[in-house]
Amino acid sequence: MKLQRVFIALTALLISSVARADWTLNMPRGVTDISQEVYGLHMLTLWVCVVIGVLVFGVMFYSMFKHRKSKGAVSSNFHESTKVELAWTLIPAAVIFAIGVKATYTLADMYNFEDSEVTLEVVGYQWRWRYRYIDENAEQEVSFFSSMSTPRDEINNRLEKNENYLLEVDEPVVLPTGTKVRFLLSSADVIHSWWVPALAVKKDAIPGIVNEAWTIINEEGTYRGQCTELCGKDHGFMPVVVEAVSPEEFEQWLADKEQEAIALAELNDREWTFDELMERGEEVYSSACASCHQPNGAGVPGAFPALANSPIALGPAEGHLDVVVNGVRGTAMAAYGNQLSDADMAAVITYERNAWGNDVGDMVTPVDVYNFKAGE
């Protein structure tokens, strides 16, 4: 019979998958005091519900079993009792009160943003994160983008998926353990939400608005999370990876990053050859632009214009610079002027003008970009 076959197939599938199963059932306890408290609240509420459920369904199944007509049950006709009604109003109310009090304390804790030692700005972009360590005393501010690094081929099933499939980034954000870190969250385009389950931190990153959150990580390790607010096409491909290291290691890392940033700034002053620009341009393009305009520059009809053979990419460099530096107001095309360094901007524009069959042949240098920005 058809039904039977469905059942056999179903059980077969269940069994086969049990074999390689990762049946994680519950919320992780996490690695912060707050996340432990949240876990406690979760379990408390869960058990309260289980107990109430067992009681209520117990009575129900008892009567379904005992008080059925086929067993000769005759219905009684009681249908009102203020006393019971009062009881089952007040008892749940009391239970809720208990949960509520405990939750309110945890909540108050979560809202105490004071006395932080490190401030990290987190800005959502379609579809990557920008991290910036806010520190007035730094010689050069440390700021970088963090994009998913899972290859498209794994997503499209042309390559075996690796263990951290979709949860890996090119550059994780590094945080010190045992230190109160304050997050300032915002967004450059649509609403995103920054979530790391192990820290029990989830806060929306809202364009034009700044949200606060904080954490103290107790254990070193790599913690993975994802964007949890629908933010468009690649919402599912916007992971968060936090690397928690000892404060000493963190200091070292930050100092290295600072040097890197200084070196990066110097790139703007360097001389570039066409080939160097093309090479760097391709890198920048695939990390910053390809998600919309597609790796082959063909765009997505109706949503994102093609750059291959586009009048803007083939037209004068000023027009091209204008679109990318200032964005197109009211569309998904953001202003990249202060997202990309002058060198990267020059590289990506040069690349776009000379890739996928575009053959303007000219070359835009960091100096051109600098002048363009200054000329406005």
Partner: protein
């Protein structure tokens, strides 16, 4: 337009239904309109369900197999919109149309022509909404909650039609609700006092008020979107002094009552069915009425529990947490009353009763997860994960949808004059029951383990439960085809049903023939 006016009441033998298509296009009869609402909603259920099947098929395994992320988002959005506005709400309105006049002893709805208008707006609205999928740039892809600015600045051009579709279907809902209020308050037979009304009528009265209060707010918020998109206003743009969060406040002021709009009539249906098959009067009638009213009242002051992570200030967060948790109390009263009604009854388990009992259990489970979500600090972990998806499907599918199915099995003999096949009904129930749990229970685990919602692809540790869930989904979906078969088979080939097929059933609807005559209670019944 003809000037002739007919008064049906004098000689309704001459005024059976008209023949042909115009019967349906021009009808003013509450039963015809109810029938159209029900078929329409079932069609939308299949359409929304088909989109859900696309979602579940894509999520069957990690990686992208069937659809691209852009299209996946459109599927999720349209699935949510169509199920909520196209399937569940019209189904309840259809039941209201059929049953409320009969339950209160009225000849028809209070404003029959407007009633027809309310219905006929819907096919146009949903045709327009669905057609956006074929437009350049694709259909709505911003979720059924359409948060700005994803739904404004970053939306495809078809969003304009989405907005107007929402406008007109909102107009339809408001007119429908006004009609129901007028019918209940003005058309009751003499002696049918408010506290004698069946609970289905009560719950619908309160639902209608919710509709009248919140649908205009939805219209307001989509109007603001329209202005932001086309006329340069700054409602949802902080650069001009507005805020994207403003959108969410207004949306959820509508949205939360909206979810109760989808459950209160369900409470009414279950409150009719359980006493009928327990052969025992409903326990605590008046507390049921007060509990329903309390839920409706509270529903206006809890909206921000959908926004715990948007960063509302501490006091606001705490207030909304407490108010939300409070809803468990009146809802609990209802659950306890149903269970006590069954206690020491004399029960049989025909299909409507099976669905009703299943409703009580699974809705309560959905309510429990709702209570967990209400705990704000914990919601930081649950929010926008599959735990939420599991929560709301438990209250919506084995909740709202099962109650509708229970109601259809319960009243189908009255509507069609035929009895459905009990064996098939039971098979449908058990398949649905198993399917729905295999489909949605694992989603709790997925959410707790950290799987966000609205994603077309997921990390490997979520693979197994997703596969189970998809299998449950296919099973559940296929079972609904059986439902379609049962209903059609009943109508064309069912055995004739008596006026009152259920031994324990109470209410005026059972005092008229099966099928119910085209016009009932042209002369009001006496109620004592």
């Amino acid at each position: 337009m003809t000037t002739a006016t007919h008064d049906h009441d004098h000689d309704h033998e001459h005024h059976g239904p008209a023949k042909g298509l115009t019967r349906w296009l021009y009808t003013t009869n509450h039963k015809d309109i109810g029938t159209m609402y029900l078929w329409f909603s079932f069609a939308m259920f299949l359409l929304g369900g088909t989109f859900a099947m696309v979602i579940r098929a894509e999520l069957f395994q990690p990686g992208l197999q069937l659809v691209q992320p852009e299209f996946f988002n459109q599927m999720t959005t349209m699935h949510g919109l169509i199920m909520v506005f196209g399937a569940v709400m019209p189904a309840f309105v259809g039941l209201a149309n059929w049953m409320i006049p009969m339950m209160v002893g009225a000849p028809d709805m209070a404003l029959p022509r407007m009633n027809n208008l309310s219905f006929w707006i819907l096919p146009f609205a949903f045709a327009m909404l669905t057609s956006t999928l074929f437009m350049e740039g694709g259909g709505p892809n911003f979720g059924w909650t359409f948060y700005a600015p994803l739904s404004t600045t970053y939306a495809p051009p078809s969003v304009t039609f989405f907005i107007f579709a929402v406008h007109i279907m909102g107009a339809s809902s408001i007119m429908g609700a006004i009609n129901i209020v007028a019918t209940i308050l003005n058309m009751r037979a003499p002696g049918m006092t408010l506290m004698k009304m069946p609970l289905f009528v009560w719950t619908w009265l309160i639902t209608a008020y919710l509709l009248i209060a919140v649908m205009p707010v939805l219209a307001g918020v989509v109007t603001m979107m329209l202005m932001d998109i086309h006329f340069g206003t700054a409602f949802f743009n902080a650069a001009g002094g507005g805020s994207p969060v403003l959108f969410q406040h207004i949306f959820w002021f509508f949205g939360h009552p909206e979810v109760y709009i989808m459950i209160l009539p369900a409470f009414g249906i279950v409150s009719a069915i359980i006493p009928a098959f327990a052969r025992k009067r409903l326990f605590g009638y008046s507390s049921m009425v007060y509990a329903t009213a309390s839920i409706a009242f509270l529903s206006f002051i809890v909206w921000a529990h959908h926004m715990f992570t948007v960063g509302i200030p501490f006091l606001g967060e705490a207030f909304f947490m407490w108010a939300t948790m409070l809803i468990a109390v009146p809802t609990g009263v209802k659950v306890f009353n149903w269970v006590t009604t069954m206690f020491r009854g004399s029960m049989t388990f025909e299909t409507p009763m099976l669905f009703a009992i299943c409703f009580v259990v699974l809705f309560t489970i959905g309510g429990f997860s709702g209570l967990m979500l209400a705990v704000a600090p914990a919601d930081f972990q649950y929010h926008d994960t599959y735990f939420v998806v599991a929560h709301f499907h438990y209250v919506l599918v084995p909740g709202a949808v099962f109650s509708i199915m229970a109601g259809v099995y319960y009243w189908l003999p009255k509507w069609s004059g035929k009895m459905y096949n009990e064996t098939l009904g039971k098979v449908h129930f058990w398949l649905s029951f198993i399917g729905v749990n295999v489909l949605f229970f694992p989603q709790h685990f997925l959410g707790l383990a950290g799987m966000p919602r609205r994603i077309p692809d997921y990390a490997l540790q979520f693979a197994d439960f997703n596969m189970v869930s998809s299998i449950g989904g296919f099973l559940f979906g296929a079972s609904q085809l059986l439902f379609l078969y049962i209903v059609v088979h009943t109508i064309v080939a069912g055995k004739p049903a008596p006026a009152k097929p259920w031994e324990g059933a109470e209410g005026l609807e059972w005092t008229v023939d099966s099928p119910a005559p085209y016009h009932t209670f042209s002369t009001p019944p006496k109620i004592d």
